[in-house]
């Protein structure tokens, strides 16, 4: 089995706020991320797929197709958008890096022909990232 990773970037704004918590609790828990005017990041996404190398093409997947899927399903939806306000899965779910990894997994799962999704890694900053492997 071979792992293959494709990177992509998008820039989005978000804030951390839960209506299930009091305003004071939101601020205590999320600090400056709770600023309701939002803030933004340049996100780096790593999509890792696993599969066998095709004996003829020498590919696990066609990288061009993988790139197109990532752009269609994720980058075109998230890039230069406010995640809380403009992306449906974050209407009632806080767009933390953890939840972004899970949401991107759900968007890409079953969309990649010939290979299985292995890991979603999403960098919010160069020193902070989240991984999701599809675990329950």
């Amino acid at each position: 089995m071979i792992l293959l990773t494709r990177k992509a970037e998008f820039s989005s704004s978000h804030y951390y706020w839960s209506d299930q918590l009091s305003p004071e609790e939101n601020v205590r828990l999320f600090g400056k991320c709770a600023n309701r005017n939002g803030h933004g990041h340049n996100y780096t996404l790593e999509v890792t797929v696993e599969g066998e190398v095709d004996p003829v093409s020498g590919f696990v997947v066609d990288l061009k197709e993988l790139k197109e899927v990532i752009h269609r399903e994720v980058v075109d939806v998230y890039d230069h958008r406010h995640l809380n306000l403009e992306v449906p899965e974050f209407k009632h779910v806080i767009p933390t890096t953890e939840n972004l990894a899970i949401a991107i997994w759900k968007r890409l799962e079953n969309q990649i022909e010939g290979a299985k999704l292995h890991r979603i890694r999403i960098y919010e900053m160069p020193d902070l990232f989240s991984d999701y492997y599809g675990e329950a």
Partner: protein, 145 residues
């Protein structure tokens, strides 16, 4: 759903690789310039990975502030701008980056309680790094390197 969160920190420290059990010649042969008597230093990058269920309300595996404060208190305050050879963790062990990685893992395993400690990675330079996942009691990630 179980997810993993990783955070990178920097500590600057000096060390000398020298095993008391070896002769001068053998130390020189094994460790090369890393055994120069007055030591040398690195900007180590310490990458800490924790894992757990994403809290349905907060959307977080753990509060990053809790991880930052624990790493600051137990790792950075202890090792940053020090000579590792004089730290009690290395009284009987050579402060190679392998041993530093294990020492940091053991400290965080003891003190960090807000999520499962999955792995510690220490980059000595941009070209070499070391990873330790303990005894793998949390399992999932150790099979996924």
């Amino acid at each position: 759903m179980r997810a993993y969160l990783s955070r990178r920190y920097v500590i600057s420290a000096s060390h000398r690789l020298y095993a008391k059990e070896y002769s001068e010649e053998k130390n020189r042969a094994v460790y090369g310039k890393c055994s120069n008597p007055h030591g040398h230093g690195h900007n180590y990058v310490v990458e800490v990975t924790v894992g757990g269920q994403v809290d349905p309300v907060t959307g977080m595996v753990c509060n990053l502030a809790d991880l930052d404060s624990c790493v600051q208190r137990t790792v950075i305050d202890r090792f940053d701008h020090t000579n590792l050879n004089f730290d009690r963790a290395f009284t009987h062990e050579v402060p190679t980056t392998e041993n530093l990685c294990i020492a940091i893992h053991n400290l965080l395993a003891e003190h960090f309680v807000h999520a499962d400690l999955e792995r510690v990675r220490v980059e000595e330079t941009r070209n070499n790094f070391f990873e330790y996942a303990g005894k793998g009691e949390h399992g999932a990630l150790s099979n996924r390197w």
